[in-house]
Amino acid sequence: MSSKEWPLWEVFIRGQHGMSHRHVGSLHAVDAEHAIKNARDVYTRRNEGVSIWVVEAADIAASSPSEKGPMYDPARDKVYRHPTFYDIPDDAGKM
C-alpha cells in the first residue's frame, strides 16, 4: 500500500423528532469537514436526520469490558433508586 489510510470517524445523527444524537456507524475521511460530507451521503440518504456530529474514532475514550462487574454491579442492589420501590397507597391520590 502506498499512502496513509484515511482515519476512521464515528458518526452521530439527530433524527427528526428532537431526539438526542445517536451513533449510527463509522466512516473514513481526511478531516471533520470531509467526514460530515461523507456522513451526509452514507447515513442520510433517506431523511434520517437533521443534524450530524462526527468525532475521530481514536479520540473516543471507552470503558473496558473487563471492568463491567465493578462498574455496573453496584447499581443492581439499589432498587430504592426506582420509583416502584416506594409503595404509596391508592388513597393518597395520583402521584
Partner: protein, 330 residues
Amino acid sequence: MYAQMVKSTGKGLVAREDMSFEDRAFQDRIDAGEKIEPKDYMPDGYRRNLIRQIGQHAHSEIVGQLPEGNWITRAPTLERKANLLAKVQDEAGHGLYLYCAAETLGVSRDEMTEMLLDGRMKYSSIFNYPTLTWADMGAVGWLVDGAAIMNQVPLQRTSYGPYARAMVRICKEESFHQRQGFHIMMAMVNGTADQKRMAQDALNRFWYPALMMFGPSDKDSVHSAQSMAWRIKMNTNDELRQKFVDETVPQAEYLGLTIPDDDLQWNEDTGHYDFTEPDWAEFFEVISGNGPCNVDRLNARQKAWDDGAWVREAMVAHAEKKAARKQAAE
C-alpha cells in the same frame, strides 16, 4: 450467499469439552443470545471467520455495483435511471457499512481491498455473470437482491454486534431494490413480444446463478456447523435456497414467465417445490476465478483503486496543510 465458501479455521465444530475456559464462557454468551462487541473476548477462529465473511459480503456489495452500473447510462427512461442510480448508490453505502463492521475486528479497509485485488478474498459468484440487456436489471433486482435479502434478514440476529447492526440498516434499505427489479420485469412482460422475450431470457440466464448464491449443498458445506454454533450463520444453505424457490415461483407465475427447470414441481408431501440443483461444477469454476466476467470485474476494481490513488493522497495532503495553517494562525 454473499459469503459463499467462507473457509478460514479449516476445522469443523469444536466440541465443548475441547474448549478453553474462555471459549466455553464465550459460547455460553452466544447461546444466551448476547451480542459480542469489538473489545470483548472472542476466539481467534471466530474473529478470522467473521473477517472473511463480512469482508466477502462487503466486496460483494462493491463489485455488485459493476453489472448494474453498466446500465445506468442506458436506462430507458429518466425515472428508471434515477431508480437504478439510487440502488447502486445504496450498494456503495452497504459496502461501506460492512467494511466498517469488519474493521472493528482489527483489519483495515485498505488491507481488505488489497486482499480482494490479489485474490485472497472473494466476492459472490453471481457478479461474475454479464448483464446483457435492460431486462437483466429487472432480473438482478428481483432474483439477486431477493436472494440476498433472504440471507440477510436472519443475519440481523447474528452474534456479532457491529455486523448485526449493519445488517439492520442494509435490510431496511434493500427491500426497495427487489421491488424496483420486479417492477422492471412487470413492465417488460406487459410490453411488446420482444420485451417479454427479453424478460424470459433474463430469467433463464439468472435463475441458476441466483440459486448458487446460497452456496454449496449442505452436505458439501464443511464449515457450516461451527459458523452456526457461533451464530454467524443462521440457516443452512439448502434451507435458504428452498425458501427462495418457494417464494419466487409464484412471482414468476404472476409475471407469466417460466422458470427454466422442467422438473420444478410442487410437492404436496413436503409443502415445498422440488427443483433441480444448479450445476455445482460451474459454481466451483466461477468462484475460483473462471466465470465469464471474473477478469473484467477485478480489472475494474484494480483500475478504480489505481486511478483513485492520487485523489486519496491529495485529500490527505490537503487536510494536513489545512490543519498546519490553522495551527499557525492560532
